[in-house]
Symmetry: C2
Subunit: 188 residues, 2 copies
Amino acid sequence: MTDRWGRAGVVRMRVDLIAAQSIDGFITKHEQAGTGFTSEADRAHFASLLDGYDCSVMGATTFEASRTFICERLTRRRLRVVLTRRADAFADLTVDGELEFSGSDPRDLVNKLSRRGYRRCALLGGSQVHALFLGSDLVDRLVLTVEGRIFGEGRPLAPGRWDLRFTLERASALGPETALLEFRRRGA
Amino acid sequence: MTDRWGRAGVVRMRVDLIAAQSIDGFITKHEQAGTGFTSEADRAHFASLLDGYDCSVMGATTFEASRTFICERLTRRRLRVVLTRRADAFADLTVDGELEFSGSDPRDLVNKLSRRGYRRCALLGGSQVHALFLGSDLVDRLVLTVEGRIFGEGRPLAPGRWDLRFTLERASALGPETALLEFRRRGA
């Protein structure tokens, strides 16, 4: 059995983009970094959801916004990979199998992690990382919290010029102001 | 009984913003005007939904995009109002009670229509009209079709800098690629 790149014996891990956004598609409120705008319902959902993943990938800005929180909670149950052009600058924070820094392109990173046996990857932002993975057709599912807010300005879900198509897997209420939408990549 | 502006005897009509958007909050695909990107499921939903409204309001660009379609289907069952700074230029298209052109500000327009007895208004876009009505706190509900697509570029749902909050009324599947989200203005 070969994988989609024609290599035998390696199963490509599944990549789920997990994000919270306003109704109008912004993952930050205006220029405020982080997800401080999210509801209690989303925070509980997000924490429980992450338990289902054996690795996660995020950009350096996303990492920096939660650095202390992350570094205090390292675990072998879920490898965190920070995608950054300055991987060397973070060398002293590295804990193999728990917190790693990589300058790989997304496809190489997914291949490497798959070969190491990781099976389910949570893609945790931000915008640029979403765009990198979507642009390389590496996102299998979108798990989107939609908060009942309109911001008009902020970081977009995925900057670029796309026409990407997804199948709806689930639309449900997560809380009094909050919807949960799950989409699967078409053909996935 | 007085209404929220303190006038007696007039019930302000309800205004529902009805739009279709991509997952990432764009109501057009890139610079392509209109809603050609919407699914069959949305088109059926939209046509049936409109039956519940006795008037609708749209901007001049939205009107121009469907002008022939609209002018062939005029009916007293639903007044169409086109909001435009050039109302005079459309004088010969006017059919009182069926198709009217107005340069009123949104609040005055809603008051005038309410006094004429209209009760349920569908706000049909585009972006600028959404922003005008949201900015005047005149939108009671959002009825949003979310198509399973990511565009990255296009007309935003509501250009501006906002922090508007809504309560979720409904999240459901409308079709294989399409979700329906309904929100109510907080406090409405």
